[in-house]
Amino acid sequence: MFEVPTDRKYQESHEYATTDGETATVGITDFAQDELGDVVFVELPEVGEEITQGEEFGVVESIKAVSDLYAPISGTVTAVNEDLFDRPELVNEEPYGDGWMLEVEVADDAAFDELLSADEYREQTE
């Protein structure tokens, strides 16, 4: 059973975003990290770059596969988890914790409404 915390929202392409108001934290789900297997490389945008909901913002590579990352919300990147450059395995170990990818200043909070709830996302992965 994969962990799907209820304190955040999800995108069909397996990214999550927190919903605490102005700043969102973005990463990939427990299900996604398990599907990918051992993550060995993460390519992320730089601080100050804009990301757009539904569009690619980076790449995550495991030993066996390459996957594009799609932005769950739109906004300006305010922080990038640089620990992932040296320890990409954090995505496997703690996808909702130390394996986070971006912090984003959210352009429009209403965009969260388009994302899936934990229950809806769990249904999709079952």
Partner: protein, 363 residues
């Protein structure tokens, strides 16, 4: 077309994730590719490689047929020995690579192992040439009759020794014996494709389970994912990727397996390869290491001074080195270790350097 399931499928299906490979539904990963890779480098891993083909050639002209259809010198084999070889077409292009076993306790009986999904084509090739040349031997495609497991790693010898009624310690690389494994009459050969000491066990399909079980408690089960990272670290070729008669036509000299070509024997492709041996090759199979963050993958372009000079045929993160490694063909003039090139990783050029293969120390 439905994928073929290996005979051990149900034994480990609950513990593995699967992928289609060469027409077979094979385990790609059990717990973790990295953990499986490390188990083979550090202790011992167990692979189901039942997707590999098995063609048996027997009879008075078996040696002659094998000699004329494989590039290595089959006559150098005594019963109970095996060799790595290439199967080439008239122009010297590698059609497949294979291990040829001269089976023990018989003078004129061979079993060779084509790659997954190549068994039917190999069988046809052997039968057609036998008939064309009027040779007297029987050729049988026994792929469905044999299961094959590989026990690989520094602890492989003691692991296999415990599971067999034979003493495997004295075997040299390539030696093949008949022995009981988990009570099942099998062929046990000291071969493998991981760069580690190891054994491959051929047993009847319907008796595969006790053979697998004879090792399962002592070994880490491994999938094709770690098999790929292990062979890539060694610079070993993967059929259909590092060579392919259609998509990547390469001769054995380009592909770095010129040592399998016995020009003093008469085989299909021999004359073309003799010309190549005289003239030298324009392109060479090399190892590369990325010197910037990124992972090179199959198809990425290799660039020198702004010009595309080749492409990556295999690439991964090396679990042993913690560095991104790649294999591919470059102009021979750029193939010396130390040569600085770049690889366009998803369109972005990353610094790379030619390094000798194997990438890791050969055990």
């Amino acid at each position: 077309m439905a994928l073929r399931k290996p005979p051990l499928y149900d034994v480990y299906a609950a513990d593995a994730t699967f992928t289609g490979f060469g027409g077979w539904d094979m385990p790609v990963e059990f717990e973790s590719i990295r953990a499986e890779h490390e188990a083979v480098r550090d202790s011992v891993g167990l692979f189901d490689v039942s997707h590999m083909g098995e063609i048996v050639v027997s009879g008075s002209d078996a040696t002659a047929l094998m000699q004329r259809l494989t590039s290595n010198d089959v006559e150098a084999l005594s019963p109970g020995e095996s060799q790595y070889s290439a199967i080439t077409d008239e122009s010297g292009v590698i059609v497949d690579d294979t291990i040829v076993y001269r089976l023990p306790e018989a003078e004129d009986r061979y079993l060779f192992v084509p790659n997954a999904g190549h068994d039917e084509a190999a069988y046809r090739r052997w039968v057609d040439h036998r008939d064309e040349w009027g040779l007297d031997c029987e050729v049988r495609n026994e792929t469905d009759a044999w299961a094959m497991v590989a026990v690989q790693g520094p602890d492989a010898a003691e692991t296999v020794d415990r599971a067999t009624d034979a003493d495997v310690a004295p075997l040299s690389w390539g030696d093949v014996i008949e022995a009981e494994v988990g009570g099942v009459r099998s062929f046990v050969s000291r071969t493998g494709y991981t760069g580690e000491d190891g054994f491959e066990i051929l047993c009847p399909t319907d008796e595969a389970e006790p053979v697998w079980s004879a090792f399962a408690a002592d070994c880490t089960p491994c999938g094709l994912g770690s098999r790929d990272t292990l062979r890539t670290e060694m610079g070993f070729l993967l059929s259909g990727q590092d060579f392919d008669p259609d998509a990547e036509p390469r001769n054995p000299y380009e592909a770095g397996i010129g040592w399998t070509v016995a020009l003093d024997t008469d085989f299909v492709g021999r004359d073309a390869l003799a010309t190549v041996a005289d003239a030298g090759v324009e392109e060479t199979f090399v190892g590369l290491v990325l010197r910037e963050r990124g992972i090179a993958r199959h198809g990425h372009e290799i660039v020198a001074d702004g010009d595309v000079v080749g492409h990556v045929t295999s690439g991964t993160m090396s679990p042993t080195l913690g560095e991104p490694i790649a294999l591919g063909y470059v102009p021979t003039s750029l193939s010396e270790p130390g040569t600085e090139l770049s690889i366009a990783v998803r369109g972005q050029e990353k610094r790379a350097e030619i390094v000798p293969t194997p990438f890791i120390e050969d055990n």
